[in-house]
């Protein structure tokens, strides 16, 4: 079971934060196929958020095929969701760690690090407005 957390001033909609946290937990192997997500009631009580927001997030994950809702029972991680290969994650993490050390040595603080990383991952930095 995982616990969700919210960053209230991030500008990322609440439902999307939940979606992202489930995706990440599955990719990193924290959640396995068959694992149950917290019930809507549990998330509402833990985070003081609107149940419609939780339902919206779970519906989105269901559409993606990442989870499956079983009526009256709960929401479960779907089978056939291989996490990232643990060995690759380990290798990548250690080379990223070396990169972070070099960047710090070059005088970048955490904010600069995050900005540089985000900018590299997403080369076109034009924001969209819906």
């Amino acid at each position: 079971m995982i616990a969700f957390h919210l960053e209230t001033r991030s500008g990322v909609p609440t439902y999307l934060q939940i979606v992202q946290q489930v995706r990440q937990a599955v990719r990193l192997g924290i959640l396995h196929p068959g694992d149950q997500l917290p019930t809507v009631k549990e998330v509402v009580e833990q985070l003081t958020i609107n149940p419609n927001t939780v339902l919206r997030a779970y519906r989105e994950l269901d559409l993606e095929g990442l989870v499956e809702g079983r009526r009256g029972v709960g929401t479960f991680v779907a089978s056939g969701q291989p996490p990232l290969p643990p060995d690759d994650v380990k290798t990548l993490r250690s080379s990223l760690r070396r990169w972070v050390d070099r960047a710090r040595a070059a005088g970048l603080d955490d904010e600069n690090l995050a900005a540089l990383f985000a900018d590299t991952v997403r080369p076109s930095s034009i924001s969209r407005v819906a």
Binding site: L6, T8, P13, V44, T48, N52, T53, V129, A130
Partner: protein, 296 residues
């Protein structure tokens, strides 16, 4: 869940002497939603809620609550509406047991199990007098009375204004538990914007007796952006987007806009804005984060 709105107004207005407390109000609140009614003191929030329960009569227009006029058909409305007035007034000398008994006697649809369970969960003794409870506990008892009526619509007038942050969270959690369990429609007024983004799915901004902005919070967040750029006038941007607020320093201009479609403009840096920022912009105030964005 029915398709007709839980609360609907048309050209609704209320005038006291020469002062319009509410003017030309057009609203439709969907069944099952949790709506925040936001605005400074005196904006018309209480007036709207009092009109919804028929405590006062409209000067112009109409209001329908659960499909009925609260003034001409009170019996079709009042038993199905839970109302917690500002400062949740309860008889202070009553014990909790006596308070629950009062609720049971006054409300035909009263559900004892709901009331008893909530009092147990709050860890309160039935012998305690209401006047000896903390502000947060009194608010929770008032909420218990409203919920045990098993209403379809819950109206809360500034329920958390006088509560500390922890009591505020606990109260809102109680409201959301009821939403989860019964799908009740909620309208809560507040001049405190904190927590509303996570609790509510719709927003109404009221100022000077008029609605300034109405809609789903998600759409509101997606539709507003903060633009920063070299000092200029807002005229160019204003041709395409609605400029809600502009501010200038010697070298920089900051605009909060309601975007009309996509913003692609190399002259401006775009930032997302949180709900508090948007509310403050509509209410014509300047907050610290805004100044920080300008200074950056």
């Amino acid at each position: 869940m029915s398709d007709s709105p839980a609360l609907e107004t048309a050209a609704l207005g209320k005038r006291y002497a020469s002062n319009w407390a509410l003017h030309d109000c057009e609203l439709s609140i969907p069944t099952g939603s949790v709506t925040a009614l936001v605005g400074p003191n005196g904006a018309g929030k209480t007036t709207l809620l009092q009109l919804a329960v028929g405590l006062i009569e409209p000067t112009t227009g109409t209001i329908a609550v659960l499909g009925h006029d609260p003034r001409s058909e009170p019996l079709a409305v009042l038993p199905r509406v839970g109302f917690v007035a500002q400062d949740h007034p309860l008889p202070r000398r009553f014990t909790i047991a006596e308070t629950l008994r009062l609720g049971r006697e006054l409300n035909p649809s009263w559900d004892d199990a709901v009331a008893e369970r909530r009092i147990d969960e709050l860890g309160l003794s039935r012998r305690q007098r209401v006047g000896t409870l903390s502000g947060g506990q009194q608010a929770q008892v008032a909420l218990t009375l409203a919920l045990a009526k098993q209403p379809q619509l819950l109206l809360l007038d500034e329920p958390v204004a006088s509560l500390d942050p922890l009591a505020r969270r606990e109260f809102l959690t109680g409201v959301l538990q009821a939403v989860t369990e019964t799908g009740i429609t909620v309208v809560l007024s507040s001049h405190i914007v904190t927590d509303l983004e996570r609790v509510c799915d719709r927003l109404i901004i009221l100022a000077d007796g008029r609605t300034q902005l109405v809609g789903p919070i998600e759409d509101i967040l997606a539709g507003h952006r903060l633009l920063t750029g070299p000092r200029t006038t807002a005229a160019g941007v204003a041709r395409v987007h609605e400029v809600i607020r502009e501010s200038h320093t010697e070298r920089q201009t900051t605009l909060l806009v309601r975007a009309n479609g996509h913003v692609y403009d190399a002259d401006w840096e775009l930032h997302e804005v949180d709900l508090e920022e948007i509310v403050l912009a509509y209410l014509g105030q300047t907050s610290d984060t805004m100044r920080a964005a300008v200074a950056r």
